[in-house]
Symmetry: D2
Subunit: 349 residues, 4 copies
């Protein structure tokens, strides 16, 4: 079928390529003409404006936006202005699902059907396919089913879940109509919240392995610092690169994120050069706020988010407050970097 | 090569089967003669006591213990008593690595070589192979290399990590000599600690999805209860069974634990009949204690452990204390089950 | 000075009493005429409608709303409709500061000055005074300074902070103009967020003391359950009632919340009859969401909130998911209530 | 009564002073003769060795050790060697209660009675008195009751807990026999665990206040960084020094730790010069390990401990792992200090 793609960054362009490979007809636009030109050479129909893109589509038109979340609202409005009732706008970006709920209701006034799609897959999506979480009205999602099926990974060589029988369901092909407007980005949001938690679990565990030699390093500490209580249990010099590789094979925690971890440690076993200032995008934050809203405990997801904040020193003032309190009640001076425990000197509390 | 297996529970028996399939010669013992008999019919050499088992092995003997951690110490001592210097005892169970460190040192006095092996793989290990984390002296681990190679999953169809070249390293075949005595169970311990975190991340996320209909259910609440602040954003009726299946396909969080989650929800979509009282074995606890010992933050791993404690109501007294405090300072009475927020009535603090 | 009070629940009524004691002139209204009548007998001027109340005040009028947060918006609008430019509305309730920001801006259009006041003090406020956190325009806050000074606790017998000299600042008297509209409820929100954390710290610690006899109780466990690793260290039968009392005297954690805890345990040492289902009001939630918004780690505050959710079994589905996973990968059946550790039987992972 | 004090650091010396003020007879020793001399001029009996100190005491002798936990074992043995059956050794330091349990059992073999006392009070103890948590055999604790009563704060001007009647119980005077050997340090350990949690709650809350101006600072961010979602709600410039002072007056979270916080911010409102590397002593760690041992959830106490670890960059490798993973799956480069959110550029996941 025919689809218009607005936004030809890495993901937009690769989705177009995946669509064309499977015989779909793509009209493409980007603010960067070079991006348009590149895809045109691969078979896409170029356009030089939103209006031009829309004019090259047949009703009911399907326009897929793959642009930064901060711009989606503006561009969606511009596209809607040149569409007709019955046409479909897809937001495939990383929007907050709140915006979907609002936007879908507003567009509905003009007869435009709005579909939100959360997309997972990263840089490997072109080959591997993208996992698609879809929200929106039934009849619109039905219309775009052919392109969802193309973009999704398909069954591949992933084993079928025991108990599933008969024809493959969409979710077994890697796409799912999760519910009404917003449901797609909601499920994607929670997906990313989980991703934060899984990443943190791996990182914390590897950090423990990395420090399993504390009982050996201990010897380097000055006599003023209280020793590790049982140094004999921390005399391991674990090679985290090898362990990450090992766990990919037959262990309970084998996963794609572990595959990436193994690759990262293979490429840079000491991780030298990484400052460890971990960014976060919106989804991890929104997930925690959603958990708070509905009153569901999410200590692991929240902790993984807060660790990222702390990695960027956003805990600095809090730590200063703690040091300042300690200075007050016990006369404790801060110790320089490298010290782990208090000096043997009597601590007041 | 020849190996004696003590303990023929599910894992011990399956390891023997995997060894025999690959041509190794197994002498087996269990306190349950029926278990011994069953494996004898499959080709193993039966024995009716530890001494008998040892007598049927050639020096240097290799005796693999696959028994509950609580019994390993006693049985290891009994086995050691009938072994000779140069023989090898393997503890393949779920021992605390502290015990390995102590036991290995003690056995060394008698010339017995002690190897600790953490084993991951669950009920699927017979076919899939077991991921093996090995600790102990180099020369002993070298001796048992052939059986490790057999028990491990091998390279299988798991893609090679970019950057790895040449012959497959042991970790690419699913086993790794992690370090001296205790290192095997240490790495397995951290593995399980990570497993707790990953499981919790998935469970928390699915719980948020499960409660994404809070804005619909809200209507059922009594007028006395403060409403959800923005119910319009929580009107999704998400099918967690389908979402778990979906995420197996092309998403960033695809993993074996997610496969299991999908299977569990497929078998029982509502999870009816599960009380949600989650057990924990030792490894999650030991991991948190190790993190505390070496001074490494592990908030995600700790939170996942504490959630399990709370699932068994081990937070009960703490919650009573909170209710009791609230009763003191504001005259707040506890609300019955089902209420989420305070009544509209003025709350003192 | 003259002030109109709308809402004569416990806090509204006690604030009126505190104001009258200090010579202020109070006009009062409540939807419950009996509440109005009761205060009239104590010297307040009764009114039988918002319009009546406003008509009895002299410009610039000061109307204090002390009503449930859910109603504040409506009532504030009704009051504003009968006020004149230059008059002041005070929201002394537990509003979300977001509402203050919006409401203040809207009221400003009509020349009404809006002041938000977070109030802490609980049932003891009548005698002890209320800690007041004030947000709003300077000139409005200046107008109401006399009543703030009356309602606040004053310096009392609380020692002066070292380094402070000269006249007592407002914050030393127990009230503070924290900033523009919303700042009062913002500071009160964070105050309550901290309160959750402090309460949780006390509750968790007391729960550990309460379970310090685990090594004694252990003997009652069935032989199938793995024993506590070092029962010899958990053979204390601690009297939490006495410990809470003790800590009030000279310890670093002495605090008003500890006073309440001691009182609660004195009244009910076993806390029998409390189900431990802990409610939460909005502030704890809003605090966590604010932390997430500004990117500041708040693991302690979030954990204390999530514990309350879990106390009400909002973690139920998550726990079921964990049990279901465990059933999948290791054939682990859930254990009945009372069991803490896994059975000695070999656990797969 | 007569008591020998070994260890004349700040706390040891002040306890001696408090004892002498109340008429007790103190024999003192320290490795630093100057410390001994100083107290001798104040009325204490000097001694120049442990043996000398013991020789100046009458049976049953009471020797109080107030020395670094790391030295207590050695010194206790040396003292025990020159004592007689029936004599009493008090460990008033910050020992791990595990050591008490072991030491008490060992000393009992020689007829020495061992008492462990957890002491809270900080630098203010000389005037304010020390809160004493006592463990040991009944008959030994009875012997030392007079000195406990002197060292403890007494009832002071702290209000009596409602429901308490008749003679003041020891806990109302600030000391308590908590149970057998180890119980004193166990209760002190949990006390400090709670202290960590309370301190963290305050620090996190103040950090949120400190960042309540994020919506103002936002303007300084580069156009490449995603803006705060609702900057209009974060435009407060809160004076944390004043707020801390305010909360001391009539608020629910008034506490001694808040008093210290107010003093710290008064002394240094910006906390300039504090690096925010927060030390931890053993008790916070032991508390978390005890919670894990007995299977009690302690997420707040654990989080407060882990925050301290993170303040010292012990999370570094974990954060590097996270950055490395992100680099793998989405090509995300780390952002320099100051950036909070991802750039508007499309993020893969």
């Amino acid at each position: 079928m025919q689809v218009g793609m607005v936004g030809l960054g890495r993901m937009g362009a690769n989705i177009v390529r995946r669509l064309m490979r499977d015989g779909h007809d793509c009209v493409v636009f980007d603010v960067n003409p070079a991006s348009v030109g590149a895809l045109a050479t691969e078979g896409a129909t170029a356009s030089d404006s939103l209006a031009d893109l829309v004019s090259k589509l047949q009703a009911p038109r399907v326009v897929w936006l793959m642009i930064p979340a901060g711009l989606t609202g503006t561009v969606a409005d511009e596209v809607a202005a040149v569409l007709e009732p019955g046409d479909i706008i897809i937001d495939g970006g990383n929007s907050n699902y709140h915006d979907d709920v609002r936007r879908a209701a507003a567009m509905k006034q003009d007869g435009i059907r709005y579909v939100d799609i959360g997309t997972s897959g990263g840089v490997f999506g072109l080959e591997r396919g993208y996992c698609l979480m879809v929200g929106g009205p039934d009849e619109a999602v039905e219309v775009i089913d052919p392109i969802l099926r193309t973009i999704a990974p398909g069954a591949g060589d992933i084993g079928r879940t025991p108990g599933r029988e008969g024809d493959l369901a969409p979710e077994e092909l890697g796409y799912l109509h999760c519910g009404p407007s917003g449901a797609g980005h909601f499920v994607k949001m929670v997906h990313n919240g989980i991703e934060y938690g899984v990443m943190a679990a791996l990182a914390e565990g590897l950090n423990i392995l990395h420090n399993a030699d504390a009982g050996i390093r201990e010897a380097d500490h000055s006599a003023e610092v209280a020793p590790l209580e049982e140094p004999e249990f921390y005399r391991f010099d674990i090679d985290t690169r090898k362990v990450a590789e090992l766990w990919r094979r037959g262990s309970v925690i084998s996963s794609w994120l572990l595959d990436l971890t193994a690759a990262a440690l293979q490429a840079n076993p000491t991780l030298d050069g990484l400052a460890g200032r971990v960014s976060d995008s919106g989804e991890g934050r929104w997930t925690v706020k959603a958990a708070v809203d509905v009153g569901v405990p999410a200590p692991v997801l929240a902790a993984s988010l807060f660790e990222r904040f702390a990695s960027r020193d956003e805990d600095h003032f809090a730590n200063q407050v703690l040091s300042a309190m300690r200075l007050q009640f016990g006369g404790h001076q801060e110790r320089p970097a490298g010290d782990v425990l208090e000096a043997g000197g009597r601590k007041a509390d």
